[in-house]
């Protein structure tokens, strides 16, 4: 199918715009406004619904994202895994479960944000944009998994080569221009999320506290080198 101008923009231009914005704005934001890097947690304001919304949302999302990344780096192994029907079903059902978990969590966070006065009052416009894009992303992703089986095979055999073609600056539109609308929507909203990423609270993903796994418990800061300072010149 020949690429329409719409396809050309969304799949050949938008990805690069998105990645460019992501890299440049993220770095500039970290240099100019490091204070603004925060997860902006609202647990303090409303503690009860928070658990039922945030925990399934994050676990669901992270699992599905990890699965997508795995597919990106070992697509052949995914296709090999899927060659046995039972294994394919296990993978697809697990993925769908976590996707649904994420969706339930996301709906929970949005409802909580609308219902709780305290949380609503601290919401920024960009929070709504993120919620909206995530909603599109989750619904389209689950839609692909349900209506266009089998998503993991499609992804590994078609979308992953397309993404790598982007990386080599030779976007292969033939791989995506024939895709159903739901798949295209999923890809487009993914890149939109990448584009808006540094303007929103999503930056908290980049400052995940991995260092806690290995740092020493206590942190002491000295203003001067206490061993050397009393040595006379």
């Amino acid at each position: 199918m020949p690429a329409t101008p719409f396809d050309l923009f969304c799949f050949a231009a938008l990805p690069y715009i998105a990645i460019f914005l992501f890299i440049v704005v993220t770095i500039e934001r970290y240099r100019d406004a490091p204070f603004s890097y925060s997860s902006l947690s609202s647990q303090f304001l409303e503690n009860k619904q928070h658990f039922f919304a945030l925990v399934p949302f994050h676990y669901g999302l992270l699992t599905v994202l990890v699965a997508h990344f795995l597919g990106l780096f070992i697509p052949r192994q995914v296709i090999w895994w899927n060659s046995v029907p039972v294994r394919l079903y296990v993978l697809e059902i697990t993925g769908l479960m976590f996707g649904l978990l994420a969706l339930i969590g996301l709906i929970g966070t949005i409802l909580r944000r609308l219902q709780s006065d305290r949380v609503r009052v601290t919401t920024l416009p960009t929070d709504w944009i993120v919620n909206g894009l995530l909603m599109i992303q989750f619904l389209s992703g689950i839609g692909v998994a349900v209506f266009y089986p089998w998503g993991s095979t499609w992804y590994a055999s078609t979308a992953v080569p397309y993404l790598w073609s982007l990386a080599s600056f030779t976007p292969n539109l033939a791989l995506v221009s024939g895709m159903p609308l739901l798949v295209k929507l999923h890809i487009i909203s993914a890149f939109l999320l990448v584009a808006v990423f540094p303007f929103t609270r999503l930056v908290h993903v980049l400052v995940m506290p991995n260092q806690y796994l290995w740092r020493k418990p206590q942190v002491v800061r000295w203003y001067w080198n206490r061993r050397k300072i009393r040595e006379t010149a």
């Binding site: 890097y37 925060s38 303090f44 503690n47 925990v55 949302f57 009052v121 796994l213 001067w224 050397k228």
Partner: protein, 497 residues
């Protein structure tokens, strides 16, 4: 011996009048911003009472502080390397705004702008979070002065080890008693908040021991709020950052006492340097409960000991700070006279704020022939005082009464000694016998009296110079190289943006 200096504090609870001036001073200086309205870095609680946040001492609920595991490891109760991932999306032990209170103000403009009506306009309470009218349900000191309340005072966590009979006596009419318990961040030697922060945003300053939150690194993971057993790390719900008492370090660095200290009406607060041995921290934090108070005290070093002074100098501590440690009123209360005790030492954070436990009225009646002399049993009224020893022991002795009893006995003996001096209805022999029984001497009693009752501002606050001129940026001489531009620029003065 890794000698370090810490700016430490003593609060004399026998002097606290519960006026809350300290709280207001801190509030107006630091926590009057959006997101901080509910925070009281300094708060004053009524004991018995549930405190702020409600029942903060209930570590079964909040899992604050440290514990020693079966394998003799010191571990945080609320988080760990294993638990940090699970807790990061939703922290199970974090207090929420409902545990503190929803801050409110009053719609004063309504008094001027209300439309014509049949009743008087009022200034309705409106929430400082949502801006909507609220029903006021709680405040930061909602149980202020309510010793004896069946809702608040009876639910004081420290009553768990007190017998029903003793508890009933505290609540009986005409025997009601309460005292005030002002609290700030203890700037602990083994802070749980620092150890809990996944990003490492919290740190302890090496030069003076003040614990701070790096606002540029804090990512609102909220572990510190849960981990602090005293609940003195707060979450700014507007900026999404953790904040806490900073011991007014900008004031300390310019030689002024912290705002709450300076404004204290009862003059209960003392500030001074303590030299401590940082190499023994873990060993002390792992001691069994009954040895913790003495262990903590043993960390504090004698600033007159030449070995300690040499080790301090080797560690970069300036002579002026060692001088301040020698003059320190905190050292006297904690180490020399032993009448100031750390709060809830069983949390194992090794707090550097010490309390002189309050005396309370006696249970027994006075005889009408005057003061009852009971031979040999000088301190019966301490044993019979309205606040049970066990309750004070829960607060200041990790449940063990010995250290609290010692502190109260000595205070009592000093009072009787001074009574012998100024009133004379007690003989000096009797007073001196009391002093001996309280492990005190007339000379020591005079010093305690002076520092408790008639000391000057400068004697109460012995602030060491902070030597900011020795800080890193000062060590790089701005005039050392040609074309140097000096210091103080956040961005170099180059052309263009």
């Amino acid at each position: 011996m890794d000698v370090r200096a810490q700016t430490s504090m003593v609060f004399h609870l026998d002097k606290c009048i519960g006026c809350h001036t300290c709280s207001i001073a801190c509030k107006n200086v630091w926590t009057d911003r959006k997101g901080t309205e509910y925070m009281w870095w300094n708060n004053v609680e009524t004991k018995p009472g549930t405190g702020y946040p409600t029942q903060w001492e209930n570590q079964d609920k909040y899992q604050g502080g440290w514990e020693v595991t079966e394998g003799k490891q010191l571990k945080l109760k609320s988080t760990s390397r294993g638990k940090v991932v699970a807790n990061i999306f939703h922290h199970p032990h974090m207090p929420s705004m409902d545990d503190y209170y929803e801050p409110w103000t009053y719609d004063y403009q309504n008094l001027f702008n209300a439309p014509e009506g049949s009743d008087q306009p009022t200034a309705r309470p409106i929430s400082m979070v949502t801006g909507e009218p609220i029903n006021i349900e709680a405040g930061p000191n909602w149980d202020d002065d309510l010793g004896g309340s069946p809702i608040y005072a009876e639910n004081d966590v420290n009553f768990e080890e007190v017998t029903e009979e003793q508890k009933a006596q505290m609540f009986a009419i005409e025997r009601l008693v309460f005292f005030y318990f002002p609290r700030i961040c203890n700037h602990c030697l083994n802070p749980a908040c620092v150890a809990a922060c996944p990003s490492g945003a919290l740190y302890k300053r090496g030069e003076d021991g003040i614990v701070l939150v790096d606002q540029k690194i804090c990512r609102a993971w909220r572990s510190c709020v849960a981990a602090c057993p005293y609940k003195k790390t707060f979450f700014n719900w507007s900026t999404g950052k953790a904040e806490k008492c900073i011991l007014c370090y900008p004031r300390l660095e310019t030689g002024q006492a912290p705002a709450c200290f300076h404004s204290c009406v009862g003059r209960i607060r003392y500030l001074g340097v303590l030299l401590y041995d940082a190499s023994r921290l873990e060993e002390v934090a792992k001691l069994p409960d009954e040895e913790l108070v003495e262990g903590h005290r043993s960390l504090i070093l004698d600033p007159f000991d030449p070995e300690v002074i040499a080790a301090a100098r080797a560690n970069g501590i300036h002579d002026s700070v060692i001088d301040a440690a020698q003059d320190s009123p905190v050292y006297k209360f904690v180490k020399v006279w032993k009448i100031a005790l750390p709060p809830h030492i069983e949390y194992r954070t090794l707090p550097m704020l010490f309390y002189v436990p309050p005396m309370s009225p006696v249970m027994a009646q006075q005889t009408d022939t005057g003061i009852a002399h009971t031979d040999g049993d000088f301190f019966h009224d301490i044993e019979n005082s309205r606040v049970p020893m066990k309750f004070l022991a829960e607060l200041f002795g990790a449940g063990h009464e010995g250290k609290v009893r010692y502190a109260l006995k000595k205070q009592k003996a000093v009072r009787w000694y001074r009574r012998a001096v100024t009133v004379g209805d007690v003989t000096m022999e009797y007073a001196e016998a009391m002093l001996r029984a309280a492990d005190c001497t007339p000379e020591e009693a005079e010093k305690i009296y002076h520092l408790t009752a008639i000391c000057s501002f400068e004697e109460r606050f012995v602030i060491p110079p902070s030597h900011r001129e020795e800080a890193i940026q000062m060590m790089e001489d701005p005039l050392e190289f040609k074309q140097g531009v000096g210091f103080g620029f956040n961005q170099g003065p180059h052309r263009g943006p």
